[in-house]
Symmetry: C2
Subunit: 433 residues, 2 copies
Amino acid sequence: MALSTPAGYRALDGKSLPQYLLDLDDVRRLLGGKPEQWTVREVGDGNLNLVFIVEGPAGGVCVKQALPYVRAAGESWPMPLERAFFESSYYTAVAPYVGGLIPTIYNYSPTLYCTVMERLTPHVIQRREMIAGRRHPKASPDVAEYIARASFFTSDLAGAFERKMDMTAIFAKNQPPVRITIELIFADPYRTNPRNRWTSPQLDEVCADFHRDGPLKAAAARFGDKFLSEAQALIHGDLHTGSVMVTPTDTRVIDPEFVMMGPVGFDLGAYMGNLLLSWYSQPGHATAADDRKAMQAWILEQVTIFWETFRDRFLALWRSNANGDAYPASMFPAPSDVPFLEGARRAYVDSLFADMLGFGACKMIRRILGFAHNIDFEWIKDQDRRGAAETGALLMARTLLTHPEQFHSISDVVAAVPYFVRKPGAAGAPIRL
Amino acid sequence: MALSTPAGYRALDGKSLPQYLLDLDDVRRLLGGKPEQWTVREVGDGNLNLVFIVEGPAGGVCVKQALPYVRAAGESWPMPLERAFFESSYYTAVAPYVGGLIPTIYNYSPTLYCTVMERLTPHVIQRREMIAGRRHPKASPDVAEYIARASFFTSDLAGAFERKMDMTAIFAKNQPPVRITIELIFADPYRTNPRNRWTSPQLDEVCADFHRDGPLKAAAARFGDKFLSEAQALIHGDLHTGSVMVTPTDTRVIDPEFVMMGPVGFDLGAYMGNLLLSWYSQPGHATAADDRKAMQAWILEQVTIFWETFRDRFLALWRSNANGDAYPASMFPAPSDVPFLEGARRAYVDSLFADMLGFGACKMIRRILGFAHNIDFEWIKDQDRRGAAETGALLMARTLLTHPEQFHSISDVVAAVPYFVRKPGAAGAPIRL
C-alpha cells in the first residue's frame, strides 16, 4: 500500500537531513563547522517516529520526524503526520511557563512534520533509571512543578477564557491519540479484546475477575468519561516516567504527542501511577546485593513529594496569578472573602487529588492487562515473580478506583501500597486472589 | 464609524429580501405566487438581529439576519456576524434528534449571515404567556425532552468521541457569547460594576449583602468554572422561557446563538431557574380577578414535570442508545454488570440535577442584580411589590447555591420555594433581610 503524503513531505535520512539543517541559521551555528563534519545517527526506538541525533564540531541537535504510518507495524497501519504539528504546538503553548523543563525547540517544519530540538545529554529516561535502582531526587518535584505550571497557566484560572478556547479549537483536531487512550486505557483492560496481553497463566484469574467486576468497570468508565469531557487545561496526555528525561540536576518532559484539552488529574495520575508500578516491580529486579527495599521506600517518598509539590505550587500560582475568567479576583476583593476563596481553591485541588488517584489507577491497570505494557514488569524474567508483582499493582489500583473514600490524603495512599503485595505462588500457576 | 463587512454582505430590506428568496426554489414554492405578492415585515424586537416575516399566497417564512453591530446600541458596538453561522450550525447538528422541537431551516447564506426558517404561527413566547397567567402544559415536558435528546445525542454517551471533538473544534470559535455569559452571569452580579442594575432602594441591602457573601460568591465562581470547563454535550446556552415558543399543542426552541460545548446542567438550569423566577413574579401580576395562586401551584408542578421528564428520558435514551465511547456497552456485557452500570447512570443524572440547581440559581440572580433583566419582574409597576418578589427569588437562589445539601430531589426544591417569599416593606424603603 502506497501512502499519499502532502506535497513537500519526504522521510529524512542521513543524507537529506544535513541539507535541511543547513538552511536553519540557528541550527547551523549551533552545530558548527560544515555539513561534511556533521554525524547523523537514527536512534528512534519508539513505535511512531524517526529520531536523529546530529552532532557537529560545536554541538548537537535532536530531530524528530513523523512517519505516515506506525513504524513498528509498517505502511499497512497509517498514522496521520499531523501529530508532529500538535506536539510542536504544545511545546510552543507551554514553553513560556515551563521553559526549563522541556527541550528547547529550534525549528518546526510544517511540510516535513519535523521538529529540530535541543539534544538532551547526558539525560536518560527516568523509567530505565528506576528499573536499575538509581534515584534522581529532582525528577518527581520537577515533574510536579511542570504539571502545576503547564496546567495552571493554560487554565481559565490564569487567563481569559478565549485563550483556552483558541487552544481547544486547535487541539480538538488531535484525535488519533485520544482514540488510542480511550480504548486502550479506559475500555480494553475491562473487556475481552484480542489486543489484550497479560502474564499467563499467573494473571488469568485476576484478569477474569477484573472483567467481571461491575463496580470497578463503572469506576473506570466514569474516569473515561471525565477524560473526554473535563477540559480544565492543556495536558500532556502521556506523562509517565518514560516521558521524563533526567540527570542528577536537570529534568525534561518530552513526547507530548497526546496533547489535548483535558483533566489535569490525567497527567498527575500518569506520573503517580507509574511511580507505583515501579514500586511493585522493584522486587522483580532485586539482586543478592540489593533487595530494593530502600529503593521502594524512596519511591514512596517521591509519591508524597510529587503530590505535595504539585499541590503547593498550584495553590501558590493561583494565589499570585489569578488573572483568569474562572474565580475572577474582582469577585473576592475583601479580606473577609479570603477564607471562602481559599476554601474553593482547596476544594479544587482536592478534586485534582481524587482525579489523580482514579486516573493513576486506570494507567496502572492498562499496563498489566491491556495492549501496551512497560518494561518495569516486562524486564522481570521470572514469570511467577512478574505475575506476583503485577497482581499487587492491580489490587492496589482496583482499591483506588472502587474505594476512593479510603484515600483522603497522599499518606493514605502511601500507607496502603504495601498491603497489596502478593508473593509468587506455585511455579507456573495462576495467582489465587 | 463605518464597519467593514465581508464581501457580498449587505443588510437586507423589504426590497432586496424578496429578490434573495426568489433564488431559493423551496422557499419560492412555499411562499407561492410571485414576489410582487409577497409582503415583508421587519419584526425584530431583540438587540442583535434583523428579523423579517415574509408572507406569500401559499405560506410564510421567517428570515433572521445578523447585523455587524449590536442593534440596540448602534454601529459603535460591533458584534461579529459569525453568530449566525454558529446558530445555523447548531440547528443542523441537533435537527436529527429534536427535529420537531426546533423551526425547520430552509436555507443558510454564509455570505449574508442569514437564515431562512419556518414561520412559527400561532406560536407565542412562553415567558409572555406565563406573565399573562396562561398555562401551556406541553411546554415544560417538551423542553425537558428537547434537552434530553439534544444533550444525550451530542455527548460521548451516544457516539464516537471524534464527533464531539469535531463539534468542539467548530463551536470553540463562538466566543463572544461566552464572554457575555461568563461576565454577566457568573461575575458581575457579585461585584461592583457600572453595568449592574437592581430595583432601588428596595434591593440595595440585599445587593450589598450578596456582594459581601463569601460562600455565595465561591459557589457562583465554581459554577462559572464548570461552565467554562465541563464539555459534556452541545448546549443551547440561553435556554430560558424567552427562547421557547408555544401553542397548546406545539413547542419550539429558538435563538441558539449562545451554542457551545458545555455542561448539560446549564440548559436545564436556565429553564428551571426561569420557571422559578416566574413563580416569584406572579403576585406582581395579580389582579382582583386572579390572585395567581393557582398559577403558582401550576408552575411548581411544571418544575417537577420538567426535571422528572428530563431524567426519565435521558436515562431511557442512555439505556437504548449507548453507542458511544463513554461508558461503552462492550464493557458491561453480563447481567451482573447491569446494577453497577445503572448505578453509574443514576450518579451521572444526579450530578446533572445538582448542576441544574446551581446554574439555575446563577441564572436567577443575574436577572435581578445584573445587567439584563427580564420582563417577568420589569413589568411589575409597583416597585415595592417588584422588590419583594425579586428578594424572594434571590433568597431562594442563594440557598440553592450555598446549601446544595438541602436539595436531594426536586420535591425538596418545590417544597422550599414558598418559604422565601417576602412581603413588600414600607413604601420606597429597602427590604430588610
